[in-house]
C-alpha cells in the first residue's frame, strides 16, 4: 500500500476498522479527533469508544500511516494491528494509586514549545526542558500505551508533584537504559548495549545513542539519577549531548569536538529535515560537566539540570 495517500488511508481506517472487531463493537463510537500532542502539535487520533466506557485508546493515524508506507505493509495488516491493540488490552483503574504506583514514569519535553499543555500538567522545569509524568498502562510488541498525568488525574491519585517525581525515580529500571555507539545501533548484526554493558573503545565511532529499551521517549533518561555521571565515567570526562529527538539523545565526548557551535548547526539541520515536529526535543546543545555533576546549555552555560536533581540517593527506595 506504498502508494496510498494519507487522506485515503484515514477514510479507509474509519470505514473498515469495525469489520476487524467482534460484534460487541457494533455500537462503538469510532472517530478521528485532533489531539494536542508533544510540542503542542495537533495529530489525528483514532478513538474507538464503547458507549459504557469513559476511557478509550487513542491510536495516532500519522504513525500508522508512516509504518504502513515505510514497512510496505498491507492496509489489512495495519487494521488488524489496531484491532489487536483494542482487543488484547484492558484499561486499568488509572485513578487508583495502588494500581498505578509502579507504572508512573517521567518524560522530558521542551518547555517553551509545550506552554499550551503545561498549564494543565504537573511538571518540573529543567532549564529549557520540562519533566512531565505519565502512567505507562501497557506495552506491546512494537509500542506502549500511556496516559499523561494532568492536574485532574494528579488530584484523583492524591499525590503532589514531588511525590510523582519520587515514585518515578523509585520505579526507574536502570537496566532498561541503552547506550551504544551509532554504528552498533544501526547494525542489525549487533544487539544494542545497555549502559551497564557498555565499554569504551577509543577506536569506535565517537557518537553514542542514549535511549531506553522501548525506543520511545528515551531522552527522558537524562532526568534520572546516575545516568549522566555513569556516561561521563565510561567516556572519561565531560560530554556534549545533542537532542536528536524526544526518543533519544546523541552523546559525544567534548574531546572530540572542541566547538559546540558545529554541533548546534547539526541539530538544527537534522531537526528540520529528519525529525517530525511532535518529536523534536530542542535545538540547543547541552554539556555535562563532570566536576559539578550537572547539565548546562552549551551556548551560555546556563543550568539545565542541577546535581541535586540528579543525586544518586534520590533513587533509594523510601
Amino acid at each position: 500500500m506504498a502508494n496510498m495517500k494519507y487522506d485515503d488511508f484515514k477514510i479507509a481506517v474509519m470505514d473498515s476498522i469495525k469489520s476487524f472487531l467482534p460484534d460487541k463493537y457494533m455500537d462503538a463510537k469510532i472517530e478521528i479527533q485532533e489531539v494536542k500532542k508533544n510540542n503542542d502539535i495537533t495529530m489525528d487520533g483514532l478513538i474507538i469508544r464503547m458507549p459504557d466506557k469513559n476511557i478509550a485508546f487513542t491510536i495516532y493515524i500519522e504513525e500508522l500511516y508512516d509504518s504502513m508506507i515505510l514497512e510496505n505493509k498491507a492496509l489489512s495488516t495495519v487494521l488488524k494491528e489496531i484491532a489487536d491493540i483494542q482487543l488484547n488490552n484492558e484499561a486499568p483503574d488509572i485513578t487508583n494509586l495502588n494500581v498505578m504506583r509502579d507504572k508512573i514514569s517521567m518524560r522530558v519535553v521542551n518547555y517553551d514549545e509545550n506552554q499550551g499543555q503545561l498549564t494543565n500538567l504537573p511538571y518540573i522545569k529543567l532549564g529549557n526542558l520540562a519533566a512531565i509524568f505519565t502512567e505507562n498502562v501497557m506495552s506491546f510488541e512494537n509500542g506502549i500505551g500511556t496516559i499523561t498525568i494532568d492536574n485532574d488525574l494528579m488530584k484523583s491519585l492524591d499525590v503532589s508533584v514531588e511525590q510523582l517525581h519520587q515514585i518515578a525515580i523509585d520505579n526507574f529500571d536502570k537496566s532498561a537504559v541503552l547506550f551504544d555507539n551509532i554504528p552498533n545501533v544501526l547494525s542489525s548484526k549487533t544487539k544494542t548495549k545497555s549502559l551497564n554493558e557498555f565499554e569504551y573503545s577509543p577506536d569506535s565511532e565517537p557518537m553514542y545513542v542514549l535511549t531506553c529499551k522501548s525506543g520511545l521517549y528515551g531522552a527522558s533518561m537524562i532526568a534520572y539519577p546516575g545516568i549522566m555521571s555513569e556516561i561521563s565515567e565510561k567516556l572519561g570526562g565531560d560530554f556534549y549531548m545533542l537532542p536528536s529527538s524526544v526518543h533519544e539523545l546523541i552523546i559525544i565526548s567534548k574531546e572530540e569536538i572542541p566547538d559546540y557551535e558545529i554541533l548546534e548547526d547539526m541539530v538544527k539541520e537534522v531537526n528540520a529535515t529528519e525529525v517530525r515536529d511532535n518529536e523534536i526535543l530542542a535545538s540547543s546543545v547541552y554539556e555535562y560537566d563532570t566536576d559539578s555533576k550537572a547539565l548546562y546549555l552549551a551556548s551560555d552555560h546556563s543550568l539545565v539540570i542541577s546535581s541535586d536533581f540528579l543525586q544518586e540517593n534520590n533513587s533509594e527506595k523510601k
Binding site: Y60, L64, I144, E274, V275
Partner: protein
C-alpha cells in the same frame, strides 16, 4: 445540569525503527560533513 464525565485517553504510540535509524544516520553524515568543512576552513586539509 447533567455532569459530563471526562473521557480519559490512553495514548497508543508505536515504535518506528526505520525513522529512528534515518535520524542516526543523518547525524553521523552531518557530523562528518561539518568536521571536514571545519578542518578545510582551518586549512588543515582539503576535502
Amino acid at each position: 445540569m447533567k455532569h459530563m464525565k471526562k473521557i480519559q485517553r490512553i495514548d497508543i504510540e508505536i515504535t518506528a525503527p526505520k525513522r529512528t535509524n534515518k535520524r542516526y544516520a543523518a547525524m553521523v553524515k552531518k557530523l562528518d560533513e561539518l568536521k571536514k568543512k571545519e578542518k578545510s576552513n582551518d586549512g588543515k586539509y582539503e576535502i
